[in-house]
Subunit: 260 residues, 2 copies
């Protein structure tokens, strides 16, 4: 495993050759779904930084990576507040980026670990931008990971998309006319949809679409249902809904209201 | 590793307890991007079936998995013709499914290996359907993998999508008004787009979108360019284009022509 000795950080005033900073996707939950490369990086890393939703709270990414960390690994957590205030968020990202620069400074590598893939709806992309602002010469690398939606499809036993069919991934509250999304892409993944199960059940019924919800894919307590309303009261955060246009259904004309 | 002794195949007349059949995503190219679980499954599998585009030809999935296969692993290839004739395809899928059932029959597991994730634009989804038709009681499991687009984003150092932004994955020829796709999803991945680089460069210019092309992500010869036209003559199959609506650009009204 290269530890980046070949690339100095020209803007680093401290003299020592700093190590590589990695963003590592640890996958959807099963520690077996880390990649071999992620395991190698974590085994070699002198320090690991894990996101925690509450200050001092548990980190799911850390619990997934834990079986792969060597004894004596220097483990830190970074708190990212659940807010949309850009100033607060930017400050949290810069603080975490500064921590990574500090941890990697002593000729060792440091890894930020993140759920799923590191480049899809991950805090890592904000840290990457902050690292570029704070230390443009830093040697920063991304290790891709398995997404939650891939684990959901494996749990359900149905593909996310096949052949020439587009796939749409919708991480936000579903639009009012969510069924119209199926006219653009016959396969839609609604992420973090625990609060929208009743609405998505309505959408699927109106559109005649196949729908299935998955909770905690690949984690302990993984479950799957086609009866979205049965879960509507639970509001579990890690709920993904996979919707597919019914086989043979013709695409209707796109509606202008759909993307509201 | 469970080898499925707990689950018989009730419709299997042969008496012996058949092994598990796995569909394993081997990731985008770097053998280090297999998951730990994929490596375990391949290490335990008595037999491996790999797809080959030409009869007797090389299998990229096999070359990726090869470093992880134990000595003496019983390796087979299945030929899937490059055709859209449904009868020819169905016959190839059923033949491969029958091969997997035969390979797993002798109380050992068998694994079909496939590029990227096993449930996203993979032959595995067709084999899964064929296995259900041929042997509804078979113990069939899917091991998810890292997608090519995740490796592309890691290579480029830019996220596929962030925050509340939808992501659209487009595996087909781009529509004439492909720029309108950006009104639905500010991030669009055009897969297998080596033949469409000039057209996608035009789209990005008209839409004022950021665009980057990646070849052979995570494989030997990985390369990245923002000058799509420079690659337009090469028509390399494993070319992915990542397009992003320019930061701050307002979403225009969706066009009815866009999904042509």
């Amino acid at each position: 495993m290269s530890r980046g000795q070949e690339t100095g950080r020209p803007d680093d005033p401290r003299g020592a050759t700093p190590g590589v900073i990695y963003g590592v996707g640890v996958g959807p939950g099963d520690p077996g779904l880390l990649t071999v490369r992620a395991v190698d990086v974590l085994r070699e890393a002198g320090a690991v930084l894990a996101p925690a939703p509450r200050r001092g709270g548990d980190s799911l990414a850390l619990s997934i990576a834990r079986p792969h960390l060597p004894e004596g690994c220097d483990v830190h957590t970074a708190h990212f507040p659940m807010t949309e205030d850009p100033a607060v968020l930017r400050s949290a990202w810069e603080e975490a980026a500064a921590t990574l620069l500090r941890l990697a400074a002593a000729d060792r590598s440091a890894a930020f670990i993140t759920l799923g893939d590191a480049m899809l709806y991950s805090t890592w992309s904000y840290l990457l931008a902050a690292l570029r602002r704070l230390s443009p010469g830093a040697d920063v690398r991304t290790v891709p990971g398995v997404t939650a939606m891939a684990a959901c499809a494996a749990a359900v036993g149905r593909p996310l998309a096949e052949g020439r069919e587009p796939l749409l991934v919708w991480p936000d509250e579903p639009p009012e006319d969510a069924g119209a999304l199926l006219q653009w892409a016959p396969n839609v993944v609604f992420m973090k949809s625990g609060r929208h199960l009743d609405a998505l059940a309505d959408v699927a019924e109106r559109a005649g679409a196949d729908v299935v919800a998955v909770r905690r894919a690949s984690q302990a307590g993984e479950s799957v249902t086609v009866d979205l309303r049965a879960w509507a009261g639970d509001r579990e955060y890690f709920t993904t809904v996979l919707m597919h246009r019914a086989a043979g259904a013709p695409p209707a004309a796109p509606s202008e209201e759909a993307r509201s």
